[in-house]
Symmetry: C2
């Protein structure tokens, strides 16, 4: 009889547990009614780029992983370890062969990967570009910095740091389109919004630290009253910082640099570089995965079918934005 009672007790507790579970599933934060936007663990999205080991990509991969975590899908990180067009193309071909749910690619050059990208898209594997576009490929969209806007932001920041009257210069990489756009955005914004801030010199720093240092020294000697230099890439920013230190012009010549490698951040921390512009690399990774997920699920229940609902192809372009890094917030930007 005691045994029977015990058995009863066990079964009754089980029954209550069942009732509780059933009730819980109906009424907690909506697991039953609302499963939210999510995929399957087996759904694998791959990020492919070049120079895979550099710090610059860490936040992009983090964004890609954060989105995958939120959506319950898997990611993989591949690419060429070297700055090697053929290696990146080969890695991309290998990735395509395994038919992943989607691929986010940063192109080492704007044409070399077109054939591979087009093959993937034609085989029904969604491909989006991030950071460096392949505009003539069939990739579904591009997520990256609007360089003209970034240059315009640098101009407004310069006016804030150096005042709205005076002389400023640019050190850039004039043969690359992204640097031309940063220069144009800076120049046109000064002309349009700060006519008192005169752009007296645009120098070619060749993307090299020592050459940029030389150009900055020349610029400061030709224009002793120079109050700021916008450097459109990171090596040149450090070079210009060294030039300002050598000339003893710290506090007179404000440097605005680009990107957030360690050398640049150290100079922001010490005050040699007044500010640098951080690209939205986390956004590039996060929203790339978000777009790929939507493309992959286009015909499933979670997202509307373009045939039926008027859903559109993916947004063609996402400006992932820039953030201003100064001494006040620099610690957040060191790669982890």
């Amino acid at each position: 009889m005691k045994k029977l009672l015990l058995l009863y007790l066990v079964l009754i507790v089980t029954f209550m547990a069942y009732l509780y579970t059933a009730y819980f599933r109906e009424s907690d934060d909506g697991l039953n009614a609302v499963t939210g936007l999510h995929g399957e663990r087996e759904e694998k999205y791959v990020m492919v780029n070049f120079l895979t080991g550099i710090d610059y990509w860490k936040n992009a991969l983090k964004g890609f992983e954060d989105a995958a975590e939120a959506l319950g899908v898997s990611v993989e990180y591949r690419g060429s370890t070297q700055y090697d067009v053929h290696e990146e193309a080969m890695v991309l071909e290998q990735v395509i062969a395994r038919k992943p749910a989607g691929i986010a690619v940063s192109a080492i050059n704007s044409e070399a990967l077109n054939a591979a990208i087009d093959k993937a898209v034609e085989a029904g594997i969604p491909v989006v570009m991030f950071d460096s576009d392949a505009p003539n490929s069939k990739a579904l969209s591009f997520l990256g910095t609007d360089n003209y806007s970034a240059g315009a932001a640098a101009a407004r920041l310069m006016a804030e740091l150096a005042g709205t009257e005076g002389k400023v210069g640019i050190i850039t990489h004039p043969n690359q389109l992204n640097h031309q756009e940063r220069t144009k955005g800076f120049d046109e914004t000064l002309r349009g919004e700060y006519p008192g801030l005169e752009l007296v010199s645009i120098a070619d720093g060749k993307g090299d630290q020592l050459e940029s240092e030389k150009q900055a020294l020349t610029m400061m000697r030709l224009h002793p009253d120079l109050s700021g230099i916008f450097v459109t890439e990171a090596n040149g920013g450090v070079g210009a910082g060294n030039a300002v230190l050598k000339e003893g012009k710290l506090g007179q010549v404000r440097i605005i640099s680009f990107d957030t490698n360690k050398g640049t951040l150290d100079m922001v921390k010490s005050g040699t570089i007044a500010a640098t512009l951080a690209q939205g690399t986390w956004n590039m990774g996060y929203w790339s995965l978000m777009q790929l997920f939507h493309a992959h699920h286009e015909r499933s229940a979670g997202t509307p079918d373009s045939q039926d609902s008027g859903a559109f192809p993916l947004p063609a372009y996402v400006d992932t934005g820039i953030s201003v890094v100064t001494r006040a917030n620099v610690d957040r930007f060191y790669a982890k």
Copy 2:
């Protein structure tokens, strides 16, 4: 004894049901492990615009609703029924007072709503702009058509439809920035990519059907060998269509128009207008809600905290893209 057996049976079945439920929760599409990206039903996102009743907004609202459905949150649609700046500003103030989770605004003009938008953002209510921006407000981002790119797409389409040699014209609304950008994108793309396709005339159709018809007639008489007209807005497209019919030039002068109101779609269906460009209004609504959701949840578990993880502010701009509408796919674009 029979009763006892029955009771046992019931309890055993219950126990098995419990085991099954527990197992199911662990192993089905991951409801337990993965709840996906989702909010709460009480989380309300509001779309605010002007001329709320027009067809143009239907797809934007559909996108907004589709995203809310996917994320398990609620939406509301508000705005001014008239083309009335004060009415839209008043409605926006009312919406802000009820502290929604986020607001997507299409601004009737680029300045009038700034105070209200800034107030909302300062109070911690995320605001994004869609379709019509308020660039000097504190809104977190803008989602809309890149009009320069749309004009460039129209130029490439013209070369496809009218061939790469010949004369073409534009009928536009030269005082509005979005129309200037469409014109510039068309013009520069022809010069850069199709030097054999000459832009012989840019006329002011004043956004009016009859005026545009008049301008199209004049253009065809001045240039009897004209092979195409790009009209940058919908009323003018119908006007140009009527002009082509009157002149008996159907098949010789290809018209490319803009947007997808009924008059335009009917002319695409009949072949009078060769193609029209549909804006990505569904994308505007869908990705606006997606961004607002992320801004609202910034400090919750689902999305990374910008302080900790390197997560970025929202993307600054999303080009929601355009789609080419021809006789082949026109039926999909009628408002439902």
